[in-house]
Homo-oligomer: 444 residues x 2
């Protein structure tokens, strides 16, 4: 078989790699992914959310419907053999809207759902932004009170705190689309220009100040309004922003923001939260409270964000029902957790209860039997395929983080096993009968 073609084939496949912007989850990286996702799931359940998921691909049109041009460009789309236009999901919100609408009458309200979808974006990979990633999503559908927005923010902070990020590590920046809409129209921005303006405002921190102002001037010809918007984006307090926008503190949207902040205080998470009028969020569908989570003092993208989207279910053909939610990807979060040393808390990829060491090939059948019986008793167990000296096999047991070693050697001529505690190093010799009886009684 060592002909030219075979050799050529070998060389070409040898270089075969995964696609750029995707990740190969070798066991150590898989353990990190599980640590992150298990934490998300636990925080969701602790806060009373139930899990759902949709398919990895949907009809293309479901994503085109409401997500704006920017998202539509970021899809992997394809056609199936029946000629249907399909796409891998870049976000789960359209699926959520579809699923909720399909069973709107039978689902108990409010709906408190979470999901950890695998998502794909057909864009150029950058730091903290890959072509395939996982995203934690929580949503409360059917509540228009800001209490629901507060609960979404609380659940987000609950996770961050649980994973070890403190209020001087991360910050939730909170604003309101209602405040922006009311204020911007108040200073003279036409209502039909708001959506395209939000897309630009969302880029404020990513663009050089001059470029931002130039782009802004292309959208808004009146230089007085432009100056006010620039001032708005630089403001760090709600009072300051209201002054720029000419809004009094008794305006509904200002009061709502104040009430939200009160509830967050009641919940005990004010330290994590800041009102920040320049937060806009890129997506067109937000209608009320919006927020983004940032690492403090780091030049990283937002760790996550969310807000209220009261019109989305209606736009997807369902009833007008209020909704609010949050999304957090795994990429930026992982970078931050790694930098803070918090991934060291991730459980090892493999942790055996028992490792069966066989020191004489004549006892290999016994070793296999013992391992199988331990597993049947619910204990994570292994043995060595390579065999070798006691030292070598103990090393293998250590690599597998085994708590105990069951050693089958010369003692087994008398029907005895040696049980070694790997933490203390202590070992004792017990008859096999006694060994199983002990295990039985421990189970009982």
């Amino acid at each position: 078989m060592l002909d030219y073609e075979h050799n050529f084939c070998r060389t070409s496949v040898m270089k075969m790699q995964g696609v750029k912007g995707t990740r190969d989850f070798y066991p150590p990286l898989m353990a990190v992914r599980n640590f992150i996702i298990d934490g998300w799931k636990a925080a969701s359940l602790r806060n009373g959310f139930v899990e759902y998921d949709g398919p990895i691909f949907e009809y293309l049109k479901i994503f085109q419907l409401k997500s704006g041009d920017e998202i539509a460009e970021q899809l992997f789309n394809f056609t199936d053999r029946g000629g249907r236009s399909l796409a891998i999901r870049p976000e789960i919100t359209p699926t959520l809207a579809r699923m909720v609408n399909q069973k709107i009458n039978s689902l108990p309200k409010p709906i408190k759902w979470f999901s950890v979808p695998r998502l794909c974006r057909a864009e150029r990979p950058q730091k903290g932004r890959l072509r395939e990633f996982f995203q934690w999503n929580i949503d409360i559908i059917g509540v228009d009170d800001v209490l629901a927005d507060a609960e979404v923010i609380y659940t987000t902070v609950d996770y961050l705190r649980e994973v070890g990020l403190r209020h001087h590590d991360v910050q939730v920046k909170i604003s309101s689309r209602k405040l922006l809409a009311t204020g911007l129209t108040n200073i003279g921005v036409p209502e039909n220009q708001l959506d395209s303006l939000y897309t630009l405002l969302d880029k404020y921190t990513k663009l050089p100040r001059e470029t931002f102002k130039e782009e802004l001037s292309k959208q808004i010809s009146n230089s007085v309004i432009v100056d006010k918007i620039v001032k708005l984006m630089g403001s760090t307090a709600v009072g300051e922003a209201c002054k720029v926008l000419g809004l009094n503190s008794d305006v509904n949207c200002v009061q709502e923001l104040a009430r939200l902040y009160d509830i967050l205080g009641t919940m005990g998470i004010s330290q994590y939260c800041d009102l920040c009028p320049s937060i806009v969020r890129g997506l067109a569908y937000y209608t009320g409270i919006v927020f983004e989570i940032y690492a403090i003092g780091r030049e990283l993208r937002a760790i996550g964000g969310g807000g209220r989207y009261d019109n989305l279910l209606g736009d997807f053909g369902g009833p007008d029902i209020p909704a609010t939610g949050m999304g957090m990807g795994d990429c930026v979060l992982e970078i931050l957790l790694r930098e803070k040393g918090l991934l060291e808390n991730a459980p090892a990829a493999l942790s055996l209860d028992d490792f069966v060491v066989c020191l004489d090939s004549q006892f290999m059948t016994k070793a296999v039997e013992v391992t199988a019986r331990l597993r049947m008793a619910g204990l994570a167990s292994g043995f060595s395929y390579k065999g070798g000296s006691l030292k070598k096999q103990l090393k293998e047991a250590s690599s597998a983080n085994a708590k105990r070693c069951i050693i089958i050697g010369a003692e087994y001529d008398n029907g005895e096993l040696v049980v070694k505690d790997m933490a203390t190093g202590k070992q004792e010799t017990v008859s096999e009968g006694r060994f199983w009886a002990d295990l039985e009684s421990r189970k009982g």
Copy 2:
């Protein structure tokens, strides 16, 4: 906004469905999926496998390389903006081979890995066969002894037994590609015809006997050989098959099969396992022991299957390193578990520790505070957005499977909470201070 276009849009999106052959995992179905996948993961870890995963899409060529025409037709493929041909993975084995080959020198051997990939196939959906599904994969790479094949089968049976399927529910049918290859060439089948013959033999149980014989005659012109193959497929014992194939019991591949069966006996799972010479497996890459798992007495597809594939890593450009593994999808398994009533063991989608009942809107802030503090203490907790009577809120607590209710009502005028045990119905009134002190001491 109620113009014609908006109405039209509403109507058309109202009908928006998921793509046929995919599933919407509403919370009850998601709980079933988690039950199945968590069981797979637990069985893998108990048996000493570590988790890995690859990307959901790969270069198309990686799937075309070794999987045969049948698999290549079943892909969702697409082109990215850089013109690369990509495809959603229909199986994870090519990814496994790529990943292992890329780090072959640094990975400790043997490699015992598992994964639960999401996979897609572009085929017509049928019962137990969808376009999107999950598949449990376990593989042992670097061991040529049948002991590894036995461990793969043991781990499979360990899961089936744990989930409640007994040896009269499911059966592992075991054969050997080596036995088939040796025997078939022995009766006169040319070696270069074996691969296409396997594909046909694999369809034996799915085709009417006459159609099978017709198809067989198209491949093999010699009617004596055809008759022998038909007899082989009907044989239910290794001795019988060997007789048809003219093989003695001292032939290496026959002995290997006998040894495997001995080890399965040592492991205590003979009752689940049958030697069954007609098992072939469709994929071209198997080289030794092969097996399939079936529901006994049911007209279902195989629940799973696997076997030895010693050449695959070499074919993917890596070294010649032996490997054996198993794959089990969630679709047929779920049908079987449902029929046997075993999904009733699946945990509920939501199980709260505490549900905070607020009977007076003036105490809502307190209810929110109590809920947040309970969550901070690690207890899964919720409250009612809808409020209403005690009866209504207790019902809501029951739906959330709450273990306790913390009731904030008239007693709170004296700073007291009512704690109700939802299992026993017992309730006691405690001061708020005492309530938190009790919680602290329980934690300590």
